[in-house]
C-alpha cells in the first residue's frame, strides 16, 4: 500500500497535493482498497464552494456508498471530468489519474491541520 511522501492526508482518507494556492484532492490507496471496486462517482460542479470537513462528493463501490470530505475550504476550480465515466481509475490509480477535484484554497492555514504521510500511515494502522 502506497503513502506518497509529498502528499498531505485527512482522517477520512483523502489525499491532498498542494500546488501554489490550488490543491488537488482524491481518495487514498487505503480508501480505494477498503471500498473495493468503485462503480460510481459524484463530483461537485466547477465554481461550487466546499467547506473543510464537509462532504463534497460521493464514491460508490459494490460494497458501500461513501461521502468524500473536503480537506480544506475553498472554491472548486476544476473537476476530473473523466471520472464519472471511468470510476475504475480510482482503483487503478488513486494518486494519479484517479484525482477528483482541484480546490482554490480560501484559508491556507487549514493545510497545517492535515497529516503527513507518516502520520497518516500510523492512523491507518490504528484503524485497521
Amino acid at each position: 500500500m502506497e503513502f506518497p511522501e509529498e502528499f498531505k492526508y485527512t482522517e477520512e482518507h483523502e489525499w491532498v497535493q498542494v500546488e501554489g494556492d490550488l490543491v488537488i484532492v482524491g481518495i487514498t490507496d487505503f480508501a480505494q482498497d477498503a471500498l473495493g471496486d468503485v462503480v460510481f462517482v459524484e463530483l461537485p460542479e466547477v465554481g461550487a464552494e466546499v467547506t473543510a470537513g464537509k462532504a463534497f462528493g460521493v464514491v460508490e463501490s459494490v460494497k458501500a456508498v461513501s461521502d468524500v470530505y473536503a480537506p480544506v475550504s475553498g472554491t472548486v476550480e476544476e473537476i476530473n471530468e473523466e471520472l464519472p465515466d471511468a470510476p475504475e481509475v480510482i482503483n487503478t490509480s488513486p494518486y494519479g489519474d484517479g484525482w477528483m477535484i482541484k480546490i482554490r484554497v480560501s484559508d491556507p492555514a487549514e493545510l497545517e491541520g492535515l497529516m503527513d504521510a507518516a502520520e497518516y500511515q500510523a492512523h491507518v494502522a490504528e484503524e485497521h
Partner: protein, 487 residues
Amino acid sequence: MIVGTSGLVLNEKLLFEHSDAGRKGYSLPALDVPATELPDGLCRQEIAGFPELSEVDVVRHFTRLSTWNYGVDSGFYPLGSCTMKYNPKVNELAARLPGLADVHPATPDHLAQGALEMMFRLQEALAEISGFGAVTLQPAAGAQGELTGMLVVRAWHEARGSKRRKVLIPDTAHGTNPATAALAGFDVVPIASEGVLTLAEVEAHMTDEVAALMVTNPNTLGLFETNIAAICEVVHARGGLVYCDGANLNALLGIARPGDMGIDVMHFNLHKTFATPHGGGGPGSGPVGVSAALAPFLPGPWVIQDGDRYRFAGSSESIGRMLAFHGNFGIMLRAYAYIRSMGAAGLKHATEMAVLNANYVRARLEGGYHLPYATRSLHEVVFSDRDLPNDCHTLDVAKRLIDYGYHPPTIYFPLVVKGSIMIEPTETESQETLDEFCDAMLAIAKEAEMNPDLLHAAPVRTRVRRLDETAAARQPRLRWEGVGEKG
C-alpha cells in the same frame, strides 16, 4: 448443466428465446366491423421483437423460474436488519376474508364499519405496544414512514415558529435515515458512537439549530442504546425531538416501549416486526407512532371511534396525505391477525426467542469469526472478516454460504465495522436449524484456512457462478438486445 441427463433439472431460456413469430396466447372473435390501420404515431417501434408466446409457454416459464426462488418458506434467511420473519399462514386467511378483501377503498364509512374497526384496533394495538399517543397506518412502507415522521417533526417545529435545520444521526443508525432527513429538507450531521451512543456525544452536538436526533434502537450492531432515556432528556431540554427508526422493534416487543424511553416519533415496519410478507412478496407498510403532542400533525385521515361506530377524522394541522386512500389495507389485516393470534404474551415470547437465537449464534460462532463488539447483542449479531486468512473476505463467506444452501446474511453493513457480517436469526428458527447454519459458518472458516480456493470460487453449486457485480454496476445492460435473433 446438461438438461435432461441429470434428473429433473428445469433450466430456463429467456422469454425472448422462447419466442416464435405468430405464436399467441389469446384468440379474438371474428371481426364484424370494417378494419382500420392504426396511425403510425400510435405504434411503438421500440418494442419490435417483443416475445410472442402461447399461454403454456408463459405459464411454464414463470412456474419454472418460481422454483429457483429462495424465501422464508424454503430456508433459513438470516438477513440482518431486514428481519425476515416467517409469515404465518393464518394471516393469509384473514387477508382473504371476502368481506375485507373485496371492500372498495371508496366505500362510505357507514358501509365499511368492519374494515374501519380493524384499522382502529390496529392503530390502538400499535400505540399500546410502542407507548405512543397516536398512530397513522397510511405510509406505504418503511421509507415512506420515515419521511412521514420527519415531515411531522418539521411541521411541529414550524408550528412553534422554529426554523431548526439540522438532524443528528449516529453512525450506527439505519442507512436510510440520512436520506430521509435530507428529503424532508434537513441538513444531516453525522455523529460517532462507541458501539452505543454516548450522552457526551449528543450533548456536544445538540445546539439550538438541531431539529431532531434520529436513532435506531437497538442499533445496527444489534446493541440496545442504553443511554437512550438520558439522551432524550437532553434533546428535549434543548428544544429538539427524537426520531427512532423502528426497523429493529422486534427486539423490544412486549419488553420495552420506545414511547416510555422518551422517543417522540417512530415508524413501524409491519413487514419486519409483525410478520407480513417482505420485499417482493409485499407490499410493505410503515405506520408511524407519535407522542400526544405531535398527534395533530400526522397525515390524515385516521380512524376514530365515535360511540359504537367508526369513522375517518383529521386535523387542520395535519401534514396532509402521504398516500391516496388508506394505506396497504391487506397488509394491515395480516399484521392485525398476527398481533391478535400471538397475544401480548406471545409477542413477548417471540422477542425473547429472537434475542436468545441471536445470542446462541453469537456464542457458537465466537472464536470462528472476529466479534468486533463483545457486548451481548439483542436480536442480531455482527461479525467481521478481520481474522480470516488467505485473502478470504466477507463476500467470499457469503458466496460460499450459498453452496451450503443458505441465503447469505447482510454483508458490509453496518459501515462502522469493516467487512461486517450481520446475522439475524428470527424467533421461529429451531435450535437444529441454527446449529446447521453455525456448522456451515464454522466449516467455511476452516475452509478459508485449509482450502481458500473453495471460498474464492464460490458459489459452485448454483445455476450461475459468481456474478461480476462490478461490470453489472459499471456497464448495466437493462434491455434485451438480441431482437430478431433466436438464442
